[in-house]
């Protein structure tokens, strides 16, 4: 009885992991936040908040990152496809200028890709 319970628990844990980390994010479109001058992207505890940001295509845009996480992981934000990167100061707002880009989705992340976000250019 206990053995069945533990095995079921294990299988459930695997299923939940697969679903939550891989299937669910793709299935449900998370909320996309449009960027404007006031939008602050909070860098804290392993996530960017918000992590899906919409900007207009063909226009330069300045994003404001507020880093509240002193861990070195949070130090850099990279937009590899746009060749943009910035070093974020702790407890302050760092402006990151995004050059005019074509329509598409551009991932951004920290050096180790633990912090992850997507820039949606529309």
């Amino acid at each position: 009885m206990a053995s069945l319970f533990i095995n079921l628990l294990g299988v459930a844990a695997i299923a939940l992991t697969v679903w939550w980390f891989w299937l669910a994010p793709k299935g449900s479109k998370q909320q996309i936040v449009g960027a404007d001058e006031k939008l602050e992207i909070l860098v804290k505890d392993g996530v960017y908040e918000p992590d899906r940001i919409r900007i207009a295509a063909g226009e330069e845009m300045v994003l404001h990152f507020r880093r509240e996480d002193a861990s070195p992981c949070a130090e850099w934000v990279l937009f590899p496809d746009l060749e943009v990167s910035a070093q974020l100061g702790v407890d302050q707002i760092t402006e990151v200028t995004i050059p005019a880009a074509n329509v598409g989705e551009y991932p951004f992340h920290c050096q180790m890709q633990m912090y992850r976000g997507t820039l949606v250019v529309e």
Binding site: W20, F21, Q30, D45, G46, V47, E49, E83, S85, Q113
Partner: protein
């Protein structure tokens, strides 16, 4: 004292502001300042933003008159960096404290377990004792490892999993299981009533310790940028109302007149208004000899004024100075991605959830088919697998090496645009070099003058004549005469004869200067001079015949001299396995003479500027990996076309924009340095990636217990924690090894000790 108007918005940090009343007071005080279009106080940030053309000092005065304090927010890169360092240091200390406390609990518990072996819960006394230890452990987990848990939770909510997730799951599982043993031991078979509080505490302590060491090691990776930042002084001496005042460099504005005394650094880019001095530009251009600066000459921020006092006008300030742009470029490149890391990127994206699944599967295998005590084994395997897996090592492998490698490049005058260029530079097999300005000085010089009569007299006559000509070679002759302090005479009846030469009267004598065709046309026998002229042409020089009053007077030769260090650089590049091809618009004979001297086998001569790009393209079609070195001005298309474009141009703006690699020193050695550096960096990255892969692919199965049949033991979660914590430190330390990179040819020895 009044600052000059600034067109942009300025931000001030406010002191003593606490309520909405203060906000109104400050805003209305600023309303009276001329040039203020809009002033807003942000009470939350305690900042004031002023839009308009007001002077910074006027705004500060207005705030002070309202009874508060204000200071201009100076977001200079240098200050930011200093702040960063402080943050880093306090973070480091915090991590050490956390590690110390957690290990302070973990180590005694572990020793107790090892010495007495009494980690089981079999009596109600043990229940109470271990229960209290469990509560203390919980406190340690919250205090020393709370950030792992909050981080894991936040990441979880965003459907992502990080290293925090693994640490939180591992230590959390061990603690919950142990607590279960303490509270309801009867649920478990007697052999499995074992507590693992020491593992939770030890893991948290070790990982904090590892992170602390990593913070320290990481700090060293950005040493190069720091060196560049140190070239910027914090303050500058500005002339205001006839007086010299020291002001912070951030307050400088375009148009300010500044004074730089001997031994001081030039604070911003500008041009000399008054005074003369020698300026050491070696830190930016690599040029070892100080450059003489006088009225109108350009000055670059970060260079060192040697002996004279200079008054100069600021033309570029703040982020617009070349130094700032170089720093920005280095920073961008340091954090760019290298294609080789794509596999690691793909893996690290799915790494953590995969490890979680592997951990559960391994635990179930041990539970279903493992030996007794099954439950305890299951827990140990689960915890160890979660803890030993290190996404950090994998994720850090490339960025750390790139960071150090790119920085090292900057120290050696090699600015790499991005990681892609760095990787491509390792695989080059062909280097296409533009002759003029790269292999040669780019400015023709008088090399030979031969006559039966007085050399200076002939030179004086020829220079006078050529002073009327616009031919590029004419300049070489005129400047040679000026160097000898010969004064030029009036020229009458000057005539430029296309494709032949020039003629005119100087001091009553008819002078002819041109090629053999000119002499033939004028019916002058060039006689024995013909042989000399051919010999000179064979050395790559352009020889011209001179005739005075209808008789041969001698020959004069002009050449674009080969740069001093090119020979050694070409040999070095060949040793690196590069085939060198020369491109030039010059004629074949001159080009081949230069190529022969330098030992270059392939020459493309008589080229039009647009041909260069085509040649690069043709070589690429033939399967070659082509690097192109040029001055970045007329070669921009070819530089862009090449797999790696090296701009040798002392960092001109055009070059920085169009090239993959900018060489600040005007030397071909820079290309060799860049290739060597990129190879060293790539090797380092491969070591790191290899290490990280091997670590994880070996570590995870060992933690899952594959060695149990041989050793009869499972890997302790504490060992797993230690391995994990130190694997990322190892990666960062290995990357730091790159700091000891030295180019195989040290120009510092050659140019009299640049450093």
């Amino acid at each position: 004292m009044s600052d000059k108007p600034s067109a942009t918005s300025q931000t001030f940090r406010l002191q003593g502001v606490s309520c909405a009343g203060c906000v109104r007071k400050i805003e209305s005080a600023l309303g009276d300042v001329s040039g203020v279009d809009d002033a807003r106080v942000n009470l939350g940030d305690k900042t004031l933003t002023v839009r308009g053309h007001a002077a910074a000092q006027d705004c500060i005065d207005a705030v002070e008159s309202a009874g508060y304090g204000a200071e201009l927010v100076q977001a200079s890169a240098r200050e930011l960096r200093e702040q960063q360092r402080e943050e880093e240091y306090s973070h480091y200390r915090q991590l050490l404290w956390r590690a110390g406390i957690a290990l302070g609990l973990g180590i005694p518990l572990m020793v107790w377990g090892l010495v007495t072996g009494e980690m089981g819960v079999n009596s109600s006394f043990q229940q109470i004792a271990w229960g209290s230890v469990g509560l203390v452990t919980l406190l340690v987990l919250v205090f020393c490892g709370g950030h792992f848990f909050t981080g894991a939770w936040r990441a979880f909510r965003h459907h992502s999993a990080t290293m925090d997730t693994l640490v939180a799951l591992g230590t959390g599982t061990a603690w919950i299981f142990s607590m279960l043993v303490v509270l309801v031991p009867q649920l478990l078979p007697e052999s499995a009533r074992h507590v693992y509080f020491e593992a939770s505490a030890m893991i948290i302590g070790l990982i904090n310790l590892g992170q602390a060491l990593e913070v320290r090691a990481r700090g060293r990776t950005s040493a190069a940028v720091e060196k560049l930042l140190q070239l910027q002084d914090a303050s500058a001496r500005v002339l205001r109302d006839g007086e010299e005042v020291d002001i912070p460099i951030e307050q400088l504005q375009v148009g300010d007149t500044l004074r730089v005394r001997p031994g001081e650094r030039i604070p911003v880019d500008g041009s000399v208004v008054e005074g003369e001095s020698l300026v050491d530009e070696s830190m930016l251009t690599g040029e070892p000899l100080p450059v003489k600066k006088a009225g109108g000459d350009a000055l670059t921020a970060g260079t060192l004024n040697k002996n004279g006092s200079l008054l100069f006008k600021a033309e570029k300030v703040g982020a617009d100075t070349r130094l700032s742009q170089i720093i920005q470029m280095v920073k961008n490149a340091q954090s760019s991605r290298v294609p080789i890391a794509r596999l690691a990127d793909t893996i690290s994206a799915i790494f953590v959830p995969s490890v979680m699944i592997i951990a559960v599967i391994a635990a179930l295998v041990w539970y279903n088919w493992g030996p007794d005590p099954k439950v305890a084994h299951m827990l140990v395997v689960l915890t160890s697998v979660l803890i030993i897996a290190c996404p950090c090592a994998l994720g850090l492998a490339t960025p750390m090496s790139v960071m150090v490698g790119v920085g090292k490049g900057a120290e050696n005058g090699v600015l790499v645009r991005n990681g892609k260029a760095l990787q491509q530079a390792t695989g080059l097999d062909t280097l296409v070099v533009d002759k003029t300005g790269t292999l040669t000085e780019g400015a023709p010089r008088l090399t030979d003058i031969e006559t039966d009569g007085d050399t200076d007299a002939l030179l004086q006559q020829l220079a006078s004549l050529e002073s009327r000509s616009e031919h590029p070679l004419a300049e070489a002759i005129v400047s040679a005469a000026k160097e000898k302090n010969l004064s030029l005479s009036e020229v009458t009846g000057f005539e430029a004869i296309t494709a032949h030469g020039v003629s005119g009267e100087v001091g009553g004598k008819k002078i002819l200067l041109g090629n053999r065709k000119l002499m033939q046309r004028e019916g002058i026998d060039s006689g024995r001079w013909q042989k000399k002229a051919q010999a000179l042409a064979g050395q790559g020089r352009t020889a011209m015949y001179a005739a005075v009053d209808g008789a041969m007077a001698g020959i004069i030769a002009v050449a674009d001299p080969i740069r001093e260090d090119v020979q050694a650089a070409v040999e070095r590049l060949k040793a690196l396995g590069l085939r060198i091809e020369m491109l030039t618009g010059d004629n074949k004979a001159t080009a081949e003479a230069v190529a022969r001297q330098l030992g270059i086998d392939h020459v493309h001569a008589d080229l039009l500027p647009e041909d260069k790009e085509k040649i690069v393209g043709d070589l690429q079609k033939g399967g070659a990996k082509v690097g192109m070195a040029g001055d970045g001005i007329n070669d921009a298309p070819a530089l862009a076309r090449a797999d790696v474009g090296f701009a040798i141009g002392a960092g001109t703006d055009v070059a920085i924009e169009s090239a993959d690699v900018t060489l600040m020193r005007s030397s071909l050695h820079g290309v060799a340095d860049a290739v060597e550096l990129s190879r060293a960096t790539l090797r380092n990255i491969k070591q790191n990636l290899f290490g990280a892969f091997v670590y994880n692919t070996l570590g995870i199965p060992i933690a899952a217990g594959v060695l149990y049949p041989i050793t009869g033991m499972l890997l302790s979660p504490v060992i797993a924690g230690a391995a994990m914590a130190f694997s990322s430190v190892t990666v960062v330390s290995n990357a730091n090894r790159l700091r000891f990179f030295k180019p195989s040819y040290s120009s510092a020895n050659d140019n009299g000790g640049e450093k």
